[in-house]
Symmetry: C3
Subunit: 379 residues, 3 copies
Amino acid sequence: MTSGGTDVLPPLIDHHTHSVVIADLTPDAFRSLLTESDRAPVADPFDSALGLAVRRWCPPALGLSEHATADAYLSRRRALGPAEATKRLLGAAGLSTLLVDTGLVAAAGHPLLPLPELSALAGAPVHQVVRLESVAERLAARAPAAADWSAALTEALTAELAGALAVKSVLAYRHGLDIPAERPSPAEVIEAAGRFLVDQPARLTDQVLLRQLLWTAVDLCAERRPALPIQFHTGFGDPDLTLHRADPALLTPFIRAVEPTGVPLVLLHCYPYHRQAGYLAQVFPHVYADTGLTLNHVGPRATTVLGELLELAPFGKVLASTDGYGLPELHLAGAAQFHHAVADLTWQWRRAGACTAVDGERLALLLAEENARELYHLP
Amino acid sequence: MTSGGTDVLPPLIDHHTHSVVIADLTPDAFRSLLTESDRAPVADPFDSALGLAVRRWCPPALGLSEHATADAYLSRRRALGPAEATKRLLGAAGLSTLLVDTGLVAAAGHPLLPLPELSALAGAPVHQVVRLESVAERLAARAPAAADWSAALTEALTAELAGALAVKSVLAYRHGLDIPAERPSPAEVIEAAGRFLVDQPARLTDQVLLRQLLWTAVDLCAERRPALPIQFHTGFGDPDLTLHRADPALLTPFIRAVEPTGVPLVLLHCYPYHRQAGYLAQVFPHVYADTGLTLNHVGPRATTVLGELLELAPFGKVLASTDGYGLPELHLAGAAQFHHAVADLTWQWRRAGACTAVDGERLALLLAEENARELYHLP
Amino acid sequence: MTSGGTDVLPPLIDHHTHSVVIADLTPDAFRSLLTESDRAPVADPFDSALGLAVRRWCPPALGLSEHATADAYLSRRRALGPAEATKRLLGAAGLSTLLVDTGLVAAAGHPLLPLPELSALAGAPVHQVVRLESVAERLAARAPAAADWSAALTEALTAELAGALAVKSVLAYRHGLDIPAERPSPAEVIEAAGRFLVDQPARLTDQVLLRQLLWTAVDLCAERRPALPIQFHTGFGDPDLTLHRADPALLTPFIRAVEPTGVPLVLLHCYPYHRQAGYLAQVFPHVYADTGLTLNHVGPRATTVLGELLELAPFGKVLASTDGYGLPELHLAGAAQFHHAVADLTWQWRRAGACTAVDGERLALLLAEENARELYHLP
């Protein structure tokens, strides 16, 4: 990480990420992708924990020193050109497999790179994660009859799942995780689908249809042998989310209802409710927790936040991801933050006499690759 | 703690714990007692913060080195036999007094040891804590008339309290802490008791009867001079609890309603809402907070979590417990985690110039013994 | 800070504080001002994180050594007399500007010092922050007609705002932050005002009038160019507050509704929901977060708690305050806690390779002065 981008991080299965844009981003556009907000920032996003992480881990990949200033970094990036910069940044990230949520298609007004090209730049296989709400919204655009909604949704989702390793729900954005656990009745679904198909809103926010969508996904994921995992956005995200309604503990009734099906549920990001996620991963066999977006955004605090997740979460139930989106800097910094946090945490534990070197290495390996390999049945 | 179990920890009044089983546990049964889940684990419970704590503190008591592997430890335990292992583990824990919640009677299918035998093995006096909901459930089995429920409950609870130092509520499991603060009316109680006595469910979950039970306990505890404390399970526990409904802040209206009676309320465990518990202990004179289950489960993170509790909690309002249950390893590791966390925290504070050695020693003494001695009026 | 009160801390714009009492406080009265509780303490408030902070930072200002005992400190304070002690303590705090919430008028039964005298003792300009609920309560005492309530409130608030730099809401105490975001209708306001004016309660707790008050403030603050900020008490405080209803995330619907007006909203104190506040400051351009009461109360834990706030909060959106009230010790300890926490945190980050010295200095300057100077348009 220190000599001109020639070093590459250790392997990491990035089980939840997005694609990147290859474009000459203005400084403002670059900065806008360093925050979860979709508003114009009033304070420089580089003056943040995430900004420090990007300036720590990314400049060496472009031939600058760690902690180069934001201006020096953006200037160098422009000089190299976005294709070369992206190749170097993704290459340095050392991702061994990427699971990409394809629900987002653009960033800062530029299209996201198609998966085959992302795979080539990252030098690693890329698999798809199907965003549930996008499937329903695309289906609505085809205007089926309300009475056919359930069957059409099952058909559409079945087709999408063919090549996917997981599905993802953004219920936290569309309603909040505080939903009744029960399947809606067929009559409720037809009535709600009728409203939805008439109104044709850009986004699906109807609670009945969101639940129907989830249960359809549960059924289809359970049919697969082994069962396909469902990822849930939980915790912080962009401002159309109401934070306290994204606490994963709110999902407990649904978690209980899904348990008999054997479908794994993966709680993404989780912050600032990552301790709650760790608890759920301990007590429910089918629940997993992720470090996601969080370790990147909290910058110098990543070691502590990872430690908080591992207070209750079994080490065999925690997954790592970058949640990189738009900027390949987020993939590299995310991977570096993860590896650094694990190494720093286990070194602190060893120094304090709390574990052995072997324990620390085992923990790092579980989180970086083994847990994801087992959960998603990767080679 | 480092030489074959001959060392014993400093004294600790364990104000909330359970009894142990003396049985040749299979490795799976042993592991099942290392998690709050009642499901078969899909990830090895030894790969966890609690697992690290047990492997740190317990092997020396059985003549092994710290951090022995799980297999080596279980093998040694089997060779010694459960009686000898239990004697060594409980002996090394240095507990000076145990307050035992007798609401649980078995663990992993084996009966818990009766209190006199536990006392003999621990080498310390054992006192009883009466679990309120168990009293009501035993009473229901005797099928009184609904109209007699209140009087019969008062009578049954009065009898149970005779030899007890405290009562304990598991309202968090049975309903959640979000209850109306008011006493239910006599008519409401008779109606609810009627349903309960007809249905005879295994567990009391009716909100009206749970409140009636609490207020009966408040009345009886207030009659005692000095008043008897009521312990509340708060925060994480096994999976029939819904975590966000176990936030002790939800108990605020009830806390306010009880304040005039002078009955102390003790918030057990609290995690991940221990900062909330610290706040309640600061602003309400009759509220206390406990480190309980938490310091054991968070393993290498115990120092930090204890620090979080002490951010707002007055040092004179915090109690220590192991919440050991089934495995004597949990009593030893719980006690060791507590002593280590206090010593580590106060050493960090001294090194940072935040307190003196005298301050640190006073804090340790308050938490280990003095606060509990005063609250429970122990000799 | 180490030699008899001759050292003065670096500058700090204290953007949220109160005035002090100059009185020969009994030891009990002094202690009662070291806790957020208004009840007689059952445990010595000096045995707390805040007590450690006061004993660390204040004795040198009175010519004693750091960590003097509580008795030695109180004795020395009495010998110097309250005027001399207050002058020394406020002088050592190095406050460069004070924004004073004048909603409180007494502490421990003694009147708070008028602002000009506070300014003289602190050696710094003092500006007023208008407490909204106090304005409404004073207006009610003048008994306008219910139909005139809205107009009279607008007039009263306009007059109060003339010399103020900000307004402050204690909605968290009076109702909780979980209010509907919408303006109440004129008819609802007249009806609620009718009840309020008849009942004349000491405190305004009616949800309709609290919302009307907020929206009146939003309108008046938006009229000012640049717009005047509204401060919100969030997080812990004295016991008439219900903690979980003071989570700033609950304010999200109101935050969204205010966004188009451009009025800045400042989340005070925030603990234990400071991570939630950091998130809101990241995603909403008009939201700011404060370290307030928190860094003082958490004593030796201040570095960590500040770190938690800065995980998501942009460094350009965080403000510092002492929330000193009654005791000038709280102003000095609050300022010292802030400076120490920032210096300690940035030193830790530099040592871990997470930022440069320049980054650390910039962060300290933003929080101590620059962010507040910009937000409140100070010279």
